[in-house]
């Protein structure tokens, strides 16, 4: 099923590529079908942002920053009834192997739009009518699944900014490689695989706030992929919470707004 020059995505034991040696172009296998790439999250990494987070997910490296709620400019974007959540997704030119042109591409804008639509339902926007909450996602290094990584980091940065939310938003993808449904596609799997299905979940409410699909899945495979990604979101949710605990462990409460 794999294309001519594609590596074997699964080895004889059914394990996936875990690492690539770029010098000899050799692959080491060892990742299970339901295994996530290693994820590390750190909250509060930027001084001048109201809230921020840095996330590494496999070889993805993502910075997210939140500003606001603040006055919404241009004013035509304002909503007199609630705050608007605006997301800017940007890939650094050096984030991929062939340099990307700086500036918002068609793809960047779409990802920003779907990310803001995934974050907004979790925010108590009615508390800040007329205001804007600006979230910036910078992809420093990309290795498949940047929208999931960006969204996961963005939610931590919003919590770090103290934005009132119904819950954190967590995102993860599942996909299909060599006729198998697997969790969290890596670069090779995304490129040579058959399908990619990123979803985002508010684990506290169980709501699905983003669902996209690239490629073909049968109805059964679709259900299986959703289940896998949905379940993984709960594991990632624990990592998000741990990042916030690590940041605020031992620090005093700041007393609140009264």
């Amino acid at each position: 099923m794999a294309k001519a020059d594609a590596p074997d995505l699964l080895n004889h034991e059914g394990l996936r590529i875990a690492e690539r040696d770029p010098v000899n172009d050799e692959y080491t296998y060892g990742r299970g079908k339901d295994e996530l790439r290693p994820i590390e999250i750190e909250a509060g990494v930027l001084n001048r942002a109201d809230g921020s987070a840095y996330l590494e997910w496999g070889e993805n490296k993502v910075l997210a920053a939140t500003y606001g709620p603040r006055e919404c400019h241009p004013r035509r974007d304002q909503d007199p009834a609630e705050a608007v959540v605006r997301v800017t997704y940007n890939m650094a030119p050096f984030s991929v192997s062939d340099r990307t042109r700086p500036g918002p591409s068609r793809r960047d804008r779409e990802i920003g739009k779907v990310t803001s639509e995934a974050l907004e339902p979790a925010v108590l926007t009615q508390l800040y009518p007329g205001a804007a909450i600006d979230v910036f996602i910078e992809i420093i290094e990309a290795e498949a699944g940047t929208r999931c990584a960006g969204l996961t980091a963005a939610s931590v940065s919003m919590a770090d900014a103290g934005i009132p939310m119904k819950g954190l938003v967590t995102s993860c993808a599942a996909g299909k490689i060599e006729d198998d449904v697997v969790l969290d596609l890596s670069r090779e799997e995304d490129f040579h695989g058959e399908a990619d299905l990123p979803i985002a979940v508010v684990p506290k409410t169980g709501d699905v706030v983003l669902l996209q699909m690239d490629g073909d899945l049968s109805a059964d495979e679709f259900d299986e992929a959703i289940d896998k990604a949905y379940e993984a979101c709960y594991d990632i949710h624990d990592l998000q919470k741990q990042a916030l605990v690590d940041r605020y462990q031992g620090s005093a409460t700041n007393g609140g707004n009264r």
Partner: protein
């Protein structure tokens, strides 16, 4: 300080029959949940469930808060002030709150014949919020409140104090102003030594103050 349990957005705090959602909490489907990261606080006295935040929180504006603002327009009896920040939370921008209004009667403890004797458009001022609903009303009567930085209306140089008035170091333009005691010192909140600064200013006024021509004083019942 002991680490009590940290709650996260979406964690259950209690049942709506038992608690009202307070600061940092929200109610949905009969339950009260946390809306931010912090320590849960269930107040049996006021029946409120709150979350004391561990994170920074968005800036707020309430009665009694000190704000930094810029004078944007001057009318016959009031000035409009663009609110830049809550002086106690300078790191966070204010959510959209519109502008504040400062009535002529709330500007100075003395009678003020015309607002131009206190403020000019573009002045950076410190004021206190005396009403935040339905619109934001401000006051600058206290010694620690008033103009923080003003520019010369002729040459835009930053003006310096000279006794009770302001003088432009470049073109020697002089004008009256309702200055904060710590004009030009770069503080956001009023300093502790406001009285001392006011005494120094009075002394300076006696020593080398500007002699402005007298303005009409308020006399009750003069017809208008």
């Amino acid at each position: 300080m002991a680490d009590s349990e940290i709650v996260f957005p979406g964690d259950e705090l209690g049942v709506a029959e038992q608690f009202m959602p307070g600061d940092g909490a929200y109610e949905e489907d009969g339950m009260v949940y946390a809306a931010r990261v912090g320590e849960a606080e269930l107040d049996p006295g006021s029946f409120e469930a709150r979350v004391r935040p561990r994170t920074q929180t968005p800036a707020t504006l309430d009665d009694g808060d000190i704000v930094i603002g810029r004078v944007t327009s001057i009318r016959k009896s009031f000035v409009s002030v663009d609110l830049e920040a809550n002086a106690a939370e300078p790191g966070r921008e204010l959510p959209e709150v519109g502008s504040g209004t400062l009535h002529i009667s709330k500007i100075s403890p003395d009678y003020l014949d015309q607002i131009e004797d206190a403020f000019r458009i573009g002045d950076l001022i410190r004021a206190r919020v005396i009403d935040d609903d339905p619109s934001i009303q401000l006051l600058t009567k206290d010694d620690g409140l008033g103009v923080l930085v003003a520019r010369c209306p002729k040459c835009r140089t930053v003006m310096e104090t000279k006794g009770d008035g302001l003088v432009c170091p470049a073109c020697e333009w002089k004008e009256r102003a309702k200055m904060a005691a710590d004009y030009g010192l770069g503080n956001l909140l009023p300093p502790d030594n406001v009285d001392e600064l006011m005494e120094q200013r009075e002394q300076a006024q006696r020593d080398h103050g500007i002699d402005f021509p007298p303005r009409p004083q308020y006399s009750p019942g003069n017809g208008d």
